[in-house]
Symmetry: C3
Subunit: 343 residues, 3 copies
């Protein structure tokens, strides 16, 4: 943590101060908890009412508004907030263990410079690790795995044999990368395991959440594209290709052989069936069940997932089904009367 | 395991024997599998028909009923059953490893008395562990973590840096506490990681299931309230506050910045969107998708979640949609006729 | 990897060559990526158009079709494909570590011949492990566990005390077998933990996916039947019995005390409530919520789950609810007119 003036922070993010530019700011906090010397931000309209009376020293906003705090006006307040949190607090400092004598590193593995290999980490045969990597306790890097530079594998993360990890990749605790795909040939009622000879490729700047399970491909690789971020407890099936810069929120499940474009956003607990194609810039609402191809730019919701505007209205009407059914019966009854009168 | 008479058990739970109070009981079992010398219980009405012919020595029930077994009448049979299982079988006995020479304990960590730190467990810098804690193999306690007394961290449980764990907390295998929240600022199509400077607080008597993923807060802490029990594979988002004495069944997902009151019960695979407020004593049915604030005492079901009484009927009518649609068309056709007759 | 002629492969699977039986095949690949010297297969009709122009040396199909590749005609192409992948590529070769000096094996544990116990694996007191087992780094086998022959426990897999594992069982990374069931007796607002004295039994040839959580039984055992395959991140509740040869796809959740027959298939993210009975040969579509007993041979979909044929049509009509409601209102309006004319 270090202290900056509000003016220095504004300069850092290309913003503008409305209020006291000389104010000392030592840390960031939330709108309702921040006090003097702290900076906070407004990006969700829901919290506008809190801005006026916040006890914060300063608030990052997109426009001038009434507040007892000074304002830091920035075009993209959330992005400015991110830059300021990095400046004031920084990212996690990793323990400097070097290559621990309690780690197990195969004699045929190659380690780049400045790696910290923690106690009880395992690096398998012929694995190649780039420079400045953090391999926490219990992390497992299997035989023939390649890991780029500046990667972080948190405790008990598992990378199976032969997978390829890019640069600046983060794998949170207990995530599994490259376990066998769920592939069995059923013959006369018995399920026979199919060797899964593909691998997993995590491209540069990917982050994988805690407890995720990313299957290796049966024949073709499973790929998570550059800059995509995967939340906790997400399951990705064998051979699926997630494009670059996607966001998959916790507990999403994507079956095998799916192709997904770039900049897609999948809400929590979304499920996607296998062998379909999701376009670019697709948004899928939380809990949706996706069973068909999705065109570029679509926003879909529901199970089965349909256009979000339609879905919002349609699904909210399920509540009225009993009333609708009653009305139909009433109409039929009255029609019977009228109808019989007609004949 | 130890043996007690049925009379002693009744006294232990403040109940009453109908039948043979001198009967020796050595263990507990289920209604359909229990035999002589065993005690079982009835708490789910579904199983009433099994009581009459059970081979059990004794059955715990709320009232007298016809049975070949002796009865132990207790006001709350399930609670009495719990007390008796604890008395006869006890909780798990933990291996007495002391501080294993195969564990890695930082020289700056502080351990209370009577802890068992198993092989391949890691205790980070400046961590403080209370007395009588069990830290199983592969468990990771990060730098600056505080753990209270009488806690159990099962194999491969991970507690990230700076988290605070109360007394008598249980973390089952491979659960992750305090990994980075899913927080990214997207700028010009690139997702930038926001340092997550909050922590996770698990209050006293919390239990966290296997494979759970409890994110640390971005700025404010994520909190699991006193006595709350979280099932397996549950995901909790950054900054969410779960109140005391809640029950979250396996595979529940709660997004970030949610506030939940006390004594809430969430069924399996429930999803809760971010930034909403769930009241006290709320019950949410399995698989529900909760998108709005929920008042105290509500019982809700469905996606989107609505009042359970309404929902039960409404969702069961989805099956009749084809019939309803056909009837509407039929009505329209007949109305056309009638209508044209009118003109 | 080894090379075979197409004729040899056909003989191996009991199939027939249409084309060049002398062609050398060195590996398997997908329809769109395979090249000369590679074999691929067609089992999903969706990919029929790719067969004609595939660059593969050979394609396994069920019948003759137009293709620039040679064909290997087999009755069950997917099964033939499996046999050929096993022949050409084989299953994973495990590192031959023997009993690593970096593993922790209790002096009272018994190990069969030819086991590889990797660094940082733990074998607890009185555990009995069969021959030719692979116990990867960080795997934990608790006290009194029994493991059969030819089992594979991948990194950080956890088997709690007393569980029983059959022969040829595979547990993928970070899966938990036998953690405490979610069992609490709530008394005066406080949840009291019930000792879970049952265990988990994994019968022969079971495979458990990464990150799964299989609870031990409260009194009675949790059982996964012979030859059943469980995908990643699946949660199974205490005392549930999954029959033989079932397939549970990733992220399925089955609550406690469920009885499931043989050869059931559960799609991704299916949820099953507790205390119900699922018959034999039942198919449950992805994301379904099952709340009632299911008869043998049923195929069900939706939440609540209903017959798949009904469901497919019914759930697809949710989209038309706004239109239906509007039409009902219109009919009522017109009926009012007509009706008033009648009076």
């Amino acid at each position: 943590m270090q202290t900056k003036t509000l003016g220095e922070l504004a300069k850092h993010v290309g913003g503008e101060v409305v209020g006291d530019a000389a104010m000392q700011i030592h840390s960031a906090s939330t709108l309702d908890k921040a006090g003097p010397g702290q900076i906070t931000f407004l990006s969700n309209k829901k919290y506008v009412p809190l801005v006026k009376d916040t006890q914060a020293g300063a608030v990052i906003t997109a426009e001038k508004m009434d507040s007892r705090a000074s304002l830091l006006i920035a075009e993209d307040p959330y992005y400015a907030f991110m830059q300021i949190v990095v400046l004031l607090h920084g990212h996690r400092q990793h323990p400097q263990t070097g290559v621990s004598s309690h780690a197990f590193v195969s004699s045929t593995a190659k380690l780049g410079s400045d790696c910290n290999i923690h106690p009880f980490a395992t690096i398998g045969e012929n694995a190649v690790i780039g420079k400045n990597c953090q391999v926490y306790p219990g992390a497992f890097i299997g035989p023939n795995v390649t890991v780029g530079d500046d990667c972080i594998l948190y405790p008990n993360a598992v990378i199976y044999d032969g997978c390829v990890i890019g640069n600046r990749v983060i794998v949170q605790s207990s995530a599994s990368i490259g376990q066998d795909g769920f592939g069995f040939a059923t013959h006369q009622g018995v399920h026979h395991k199919i060797p899964q000879i593909g691998k997993v490729v995590l491209e540069d700047d990917v982050e994988i959440g805690s407890g995720c399970a990313i299957e290796r491909g049966t024949l073709d690789d499973t790929v998570i594209g550059k800059g995509s971020k995967i939340g906790d407890l997400v399951a990705i099936g064998h051979g699926t290709k997630i494009g670059p810069y996607c966001l998959l929120v916790p507990q999403v499940g994507v079956a095998g052989s799916v192709t997904m474009g770039h900049h897609c956003v999948l809400g929590g607990q979304v499920g996607v069936v296998g062998h379909i194609k999701i376009g670019n810039l697709v948004k899928i609402g939380a809990k949706a069940g996706v069973v068909n191809d999705v065109p570029d730019g679509a926003t879909i919701v529901g199970t089965p997932a349909i256009d979000a505007n339609k879905a919002k209205r349609a699904y909210s009407l399920i509540e009225y089904l009993p009333e609708m059914r009653k009305k139909i019966k009433e109409l039929e009854r009255r029609m019977e009367k009228t109808g019989s009168a007609d004949e």
